[in-house]
């Protein structure tokens, strides 16, 4: 991975990579495929009715809006459904989140949401993506600080829902 300095700090030299934005870092082709797949064919697309939990989250700056519904069964997340108004990054992140968190207990899922947000914000020391499944494909978004909040929005919305 070619790191260099730009006016905005260290960046991966995207010019050398074949898949800008949706797929970069160690294995650009793989990540690009995952993100394109989730961005264009999102899992969990559509709201659940009936559902046990429902909420909405938005970013005023980007205009992104996420609506999230959750079905619970014995303290576990049985199913998640969402609608996303926004970019491919937002849709892919929603889709990857529903994959990563479905089947988890609410406590585990909230911890994973926190783990993901810390990783994207660069607040994690060990860069540990274990347990987040294909959501690791979003790691490259960190090179685009303006887009981190798009990727984080669904996870932040979910974490706030569980905290309530």
């Amino acid at each position: 991975m070619a790191l260099r300095w730009s006016a905005r700090g260290p960046v991966v030299d995207m010019a050398a990579e074949s898949g800008p934005l949706l797929g970069m870092t160690d294995d650009p082709e793989l990540y690009r495929e995952i993100l394109l797949d989730h961005g264009q064919h999102p899992r969990g697309d559509g709201l659940l009715d009936p559902c046990d939990l429902a909420t909405e989250g938005s970013n005023a700056d980007t205009g992104d809006v996420v609506r999230l519904t959750v079905r619970l069964a014995e303290g576990q997340i049985a199913e998640m459904g969402f609608t996303a108004e926004g970019s491919a990054v937002l849709r892919a992140s929603c889709s990857l989140m529903t994959e990563a968190l479905t089947g988890q207990s609410t406590v585990e899922a909230a911890a994973k949401a926190d783990q993901f947000m810390a990783l994207l914000r660069g607040e994690s020391d060990d860069d540990n993506w274990d347990g987040l499944g294909d959501a690791v494909a979003l790691r490259g978004i960190r090179q685009f600080p303006a887009r981190v909040r798009c990727a984080i929005l669904p996870w932040r919305t979910f974490a706030r829902l569980i905290a309530q």
């Binding site: 205009g63 970019s87 990054v89």
Partner: protein
């Protein structure tokens, strides 16, 4: 004006102009910077950067009332900048140019002072559907406070004002028309020369938001016949944090002060305080001295350019970019006014503007995405926002090609 466009375009030495803007020489993400976000802020020529440097190195002092040499020098430079700014917008008197933080603050100043005195319950403030939030929200806040209403001039599908609807909107209750000279999102040049007399004939005060026009063509407030004109320094090659409110002198002097503090007073006692006349009346506290001086340098720089050749060149950029963008399948341009500046808003079918913006950035191309602070405008088109490329006189036809090539790449990947 007889314009031989081809010869004027060839007269515009863009390489020579670009050499005056140091930032344009750098690479971003491994590519030469292609800066097409000029409607958000312009880049700065050497003349402005060096003037700021010289001020801080050799002239820095607080202005007014200082008896020492540096203070007098700084005061002279600050007031000379006001003279430059006055010539830049054709203001007959420099004192009628008030330095503010930006166009937004200038509009808020008028709303908080003139507006509070002259607009009351049941009155109407007329704006247009294409206004920047800065020319909507201050009037909504005022309307809320005094019980007035904000009325709106609609636009047509091409992004032009619906002039047929205008006469009925200029009612006996309309106290103010607040209108942008040029739309920041669409590039539309509004026919203010035609509109202002209609409003004035009905005794309506007129404020023109010149934040976008001043970057593209010379304006003359005296000829326009408006009452207030505002613009921001950073969009006309000047520093950030400095803007201008121009107003008719009698109107400004009759307005209550905006902020209280030093410099704006005549005499202060606990029994009561009297206020100075313009411009100090509206410049409380130590102003952005360097910013004003930098703006003066920017005004001088722009006035020193060949305006006809500049206009012809920007028109060429607009025409070429419009043709090239329209050739991309699924690309829809918003804003097709007969008269517009070199600003192009567009959507690309199925691809979110933020994804476009990020992927263009990877190619070193700076454009803007989102609502561009004109949410009501985009609601009218049933959109959340757009991707906007805005060109300045230092952009090149090759940069248009870089933009369209990068957009085709985005489309291949995400479309």
């Amino acid at each position: 004006m007889i314009l031989d466009k081809d010869s004027l375009v060839s007269q515009w030495d863009v390489a020579q102009v670009r050499a005056e803007f140091p930032i344009l020489g750098q690479t971003v993400n491994g590519h030469p910077l292609v800066y097409l976000d000029n409607a958000a802020t312009s880049q700065k020529p050497r003349a402005v950067i060096e003037r700021l440097d010289r001020y801080y190195r050799t002239e820095n002092a607080n202005i007014h009332r200082g008896v020492h040499a540096l203070s007098q020098e700084a005061t002279a430079a600050y007031e000379a900048a006001r003279e430059s700014v006055a010539r830049f917008i054709g203001a007959p008197e420099a004192r009628s140019c008030i330095f503010t933080r930006n166009a937004t603050e200038a509009i808020n100043l008028v709303a908080a002072t003139w507006g509070r005195e002259h607009i009351g319950a049941g009155d109407e403030i007329l704006v247009s559907e294409m206004e920047h939030h800065a020319n909507i929200v201050p009037w909504q806040m005022l309307a809320e406070q005094v019980g007035a209403t904000v009325t709106v001039i609609p636009i047509n599908d091409r992004g032009e004002l619906d002039l047929d609807a205008l006469p009925a909107l200029l009612t006996s209750r309309t106290k103010l028309l607040a209108l942008c000279h040029v739309s920041n999102s669409l590039g539309t040049i509004n026919p203010v020369e035609q509109i202002i007399p209609l409003a004035k004939a009905k005794g309506i005060t007129v404020l023109i938001d010149g934040a976008q026009s001043t970057a593209h063509f010379p304006v003359n407030v005296a000829t326009l016949g408006c009452d207030f004109f505002v613009f921001s320094g950073h969009k006309v090659c000047g520093p950030t944090g400095i803007g201008v409110l121009w107003g008719k002198p009698d109107l400004l002097n009759a307005m209550p002060p905006y902020q209280g503090g030093g410099d704006m007073i005549d005499r202060v006692s606990f029994a009561g305080t009297t206020f100075r006349q313009i411009p100090e009346r509206f410049e409380a506290g130590t102003p952005h001295i360097a910013g004003a001086i930098g703006l003066g340098a920017a005004a001088e720089y722009l006035m020193g350019l060949d305006q006809q050749a500049l206009a012809a060149y920007e028109h060429e950029l607009l025409t070429y970019a419009t043709e090239q963008l329209q050739a991309i399948d699924g690309l829809q341009i918003y804003g097709e006014a007969a008269h517009k500046v070199s600003v192009i808003s567009f959507t690309l079918a199925g691809i979110h503007p933020n994804d476009i913006g990020t992927m263009l950035d990877v190619d070193g191309i700076a454009i803007r995405t989102g609502h561009h602070c004109t949410m009501p405008l985009w609601a009218r088109f049933g959109l959340e926002g757009s991707t906007r490329a805005s060109f300045a006189f230092y952009n090149t036809l090759a940069e248009v090609d870089a933009l369209t090539a990068s957009l085709r790449k985005v489309q291949k990947l995400l479309g």
